[in-house]
């Protein structure tokens, strides 16, 4: 038994004691070495619940919805769909701002609409119910749900359902609402990400380059938080880390108009 092997066994035992590493085994590496290194599993653990939120209280997100968080979630779900095959169940509230998914846009994010089923629920409770049903169905590739109000109990239920069915769930909270246990509230997910748009790097041609997202790993069981600026290239569908960010003010100074709004 090599020292490396022994160390690995020891790590596993520690993780088992901490209760973080159910032997799910399956991990989805993000393909971003900096981010994968921050996750104790070496990637996104599967068969559990992940929470992705936008920037609460951001006027732009309040107006346009959590676009970057949606994009980040869709990229992850797309990779799961490509790897596992099967369908991604996307649960939204009927008539809400989230009920405007544009499938060609999802295709652009790597998620073929033929592999997407959109469930339109009447209210948040029904969104959560749909998610739970989906998470218990091992045939699905992933479940994405957009609910405004999910509390600790709901999160725990989803987490258990995900563990039972082995399906990975993403709870995507709408941005634009501060506090009140809503989008920012903890739902006891395995990881919680905050993804907000960031100004993209200028490109030498007239037009727009890859979209830039400010990705923060807020909470991660058994791991450390981190923050990165991630570029998403909509031509190739690739993610790449542009820069590791430190906590504190984001590097570009926020313009005055934004504070006025």
């Amino acid at each position: 038994m090599t020292a490396e092997h022994r160390l690995e066994l020891l790590r596993r035992r520690v993780r088992a004691i901490e209760g973080t590493a159910r032997e799910v085994g399956a991990v989805l590496p993000l393909g971003l070495p900096e981010v994968d290194a921050a996750l104790p599993w070496g990637g996104l653990p599967l068969g559990c619940l992940h929470q992705v939120v936008g920037e609460p209280g951001d006027a732009a997100e309040a107006a346009a919805g959590p676009a970057a968080a949606l994009g980040f979630t869709a990229v992850l779900a797309a990779r799961l769909a490509a790897r596992r095959g099967g369908t991604v169940l996307w649960c939204v509230r009927r008539g809400s701002v989230d009920d405007a998914l544009h499938p060609p846009g999802l295709a652009r994010l790597g998620l073929p609409p033929a592999q997407v089923m959109i469930a339109r629920a009447a209210d948040d409770a029904e969104v959560l119910w749909c998610m739970e049903e989906g998470l218990r169905a091992p045939a699905l590739a992933a479940v994405v749900g957009q609910a405004r109000d999910a509390d600790l109990t709901a999160g725990r239920r989803l987490q258990l359902a995900a563990e039972a069915g082995g399906v990975t769930g993403f709870l995507l909270a709408a941005g634009g609402r501060a506090g009140r246990g809503g989008p920012t509230g903890s739902v006891a997910a395995t990881t919680r990400w905050r993804v907000v748009p960031a100004p993209s790097a200028p490109v030498p041609w007239p037009g727009l380059g890859p979209a830039a997202w400010d990705v923060t790993l807020d909470r991660c069981r058994g791991g450390l938080p981190g923050r990165w600026k991630v570029d998403w290239d909509d031509e190739t569908g690739d993610l790449s880390v542009a820069a590791a960010l430190r906590d504190g003010p984001a590097d570009p100074p926020r313009p005055a108009v934004r504070r006025l709004a």
Partner: protein
């Protein structure tokens, strides 16, 4: 009471009225003269018919073959039950008849029940043999209201009855009586040919049908599916868990035959018979044939929310109004969570999940987006398909970037010059454009003919504001700007 030919006539009377000499079809004035304190209400044939229909539906707890006899003045209405092959489930024909009578009496009906080999004989028995005091004549009144003719006995018993017992039109009965033919025996004794010449074929046909010489097909009120299972409970059940257990049992009972005939259910109808006579119906559908009993039972789970069992459910019937061929044998759903199911099984299981979601969210609650050949963004998608997979996925790949969220075009208020405007207000926020990309021209689809609202060509720009938010803007008529989408 009902109005007929300008006169108010009695439509139907109860036993007490009959006792004082008031009869159906009597003019109201005459009836009042006979019995001044007579209490009359307006006849409501539609309501009566509806009640009879409900009763016929309720009676499917005994047999799938039930039918309603039309309502006619003089108490012609009735209920038919073909209990062939069903009686043994209730302990024999006599027990079934007693059970039926007791339940109907419990609902508040006065019951006359006839059972015979032929429809005609049963009709006659119910109306002319099953008097309140007639029948078996047991001391405890066990035979009250019942007239159960033994097998093959209808001929002999019918002979003594008046000719009215043959379901003949009133005019024919009138003629027979004028001829002095009062009992069925008189009619049967007549030579056939002159009888038919004089009275038409009707009298001879009804006679033959009643004694079983001519066939009479039974026409049930609803087409009956051969895929049907029934479960009766010794004690009425009310708890949802018990109902679910019963559903599972019914699904398991149907399973062997489905497997043998290689069929799967497409639609399932569950009828729950409440003690008080109400029938609760639940219909669910599947997007592909299913025969796994557990999966079928689970489909009903969502429909049982808020189930009102009243004083309890005493019987349940599960039928499959639609079945389709299902060749491949489904393997058990016992695979571990970690193992990857193969594509076919995965598709079947996904379809089951979607069916279950649909029972709660509605038929249009779970949909797959399908591309449409259109350059107009809002027309490029239709959501209609029920199952995932299918069309070629690459029909989606638009050459140009498309937003992930498409909204109805909303006008913006430009705050600065430029194409697109360097700053604008939209949804109560000021957006300062840092970069933009465009235009992408989306031309109207002239080949689809003149539209009701001829649309101008639109020039789309992708803009990014100083915060990195990306929006999809287009310039419409009169150089006005609109937001139509949000990019990630």
């Amino acid at each position: 009471m009902a109005e007929a030919a300008g006169t108010l006539r009695l439509h139907a009377v109860n036993g007490a009225a009959e006792a004082v000499g008031v009869f159906p079809a009597m003019p109201l004035a005459d009836a009042r003269a006979v019995f001044p304190a007579l209490k009359v209400t307006e006849a409501d044939p539609e309501d009566d018919a509806a009640a009879l229909e409900t009763l016929a539906q309720w009676a499917t707890r005994y047999t799938p073959w039930t039918a309603v006899e039309g309502i006619a003045p003089g108490g012609g209405a009735g209920l038919w039950l073909d209990v062939t092959g069903c009686a043994h489930l209730f302990g024999g024909e006599a027990a079934l008849a007693r059970d039926l009578r007791d339940r109907l009496t419990g609902f508040g009906f006065a019951v006359r029940l006839g059972l015979a080999d032929t429809q005609g004989a049963a009709w006659a028995a119910a109306r002319f043999l099953a008097g309140e005091e007639a029948g078996g004549g047991d001391d405890d009144g066990d035979g009250a209201g019942l007239a159960l003719l033994p097998e093959g006995a209808q001929r002999q018993l019918l002979m003594g009855l008046p000719v009215e017992a043959l379901r003949l039109p009133a005019a024919v009965v009138e003629t027979l009586k004028r001829l002095g033919i009062r009992r069925i025996a008189d009619l049967a004794a007549l030579p056939r040919a002159p009888l038919a010449a004089r009275l038409g074929a009707e009298a001879a046909r009804r006679l033959d049908q009643a004694i079983g010489r001519a066939p009479e097909p039974f026409t049930p009120r609803a087409p009956v599916t051969p895929w049907r299972e029934r479960l009766a409970f010794a004690e009425p059940i009310g708890r949802t868990e018990d109902v679910q257990t019963a559903i599972a049992a019914l699904c398991r009972a149907l399973h062997p035959r489905l497997e043998r005939e290689r069929k799967g259910a497409r639609r399932l109808l569950l009828e729950m018979f409440r003690v008080d006579g109400e029938v609760i119906r639940r219909m669910v559908g599947t997007s592909r044939p299913v025969r796994d009993p557990d999966a079928l039972a689970r489909l009903f789970k969502e429909t049982l929310d808020g189930l009102d069992a009243g004083f309890g459910i005493e019987a349940m019937v599960l039928s499959l109004p639609a079945v389709d061929p299902l060749e491949a044998t489904q393997t058990g759903f016992t695979r571990g969570a970690g193992e990857a199911p193969d594509a076919a099984e995965r598709a079947a299981r996904t379809a089951l999940l979607l069916d279950r979601l649909r029972t709660r969210l509605g038929e249009d609650g779970v949909l797959r987006p399908v591309p449409r050949e259109s350059h107009i963004p809002e027309a490029s998608v239709t959501v209609a398909e029920r199952t995932p997979g299918g069309t070629a996925p690459d029909t989606w790949a638009a050459a140009a970037p498309r937003p992930v969220r498409l909204i109805a075009a909303e006008p913006v208020e430009p705050l600065a010059e430029g194409t697109p405007p360097a700053a604008f207000r939209w949804r109560r926020r000021t957006w300062t454009v840092a970069r933009s990309e465009g235009p992408e021209r989306v031309a109207p689809e002239w080949w689809h003919g003149p539209l009701p609202h001829p649309r101008a060509a639109r020039d789309y720009w992708r803009v990014e504001d100083t915060g990195g938010h990306r929006l999809w803007l287009f310039r419409g008529r009169a150089a006005r700007w609109f937001v139509q989408g949000v990019f990630p």
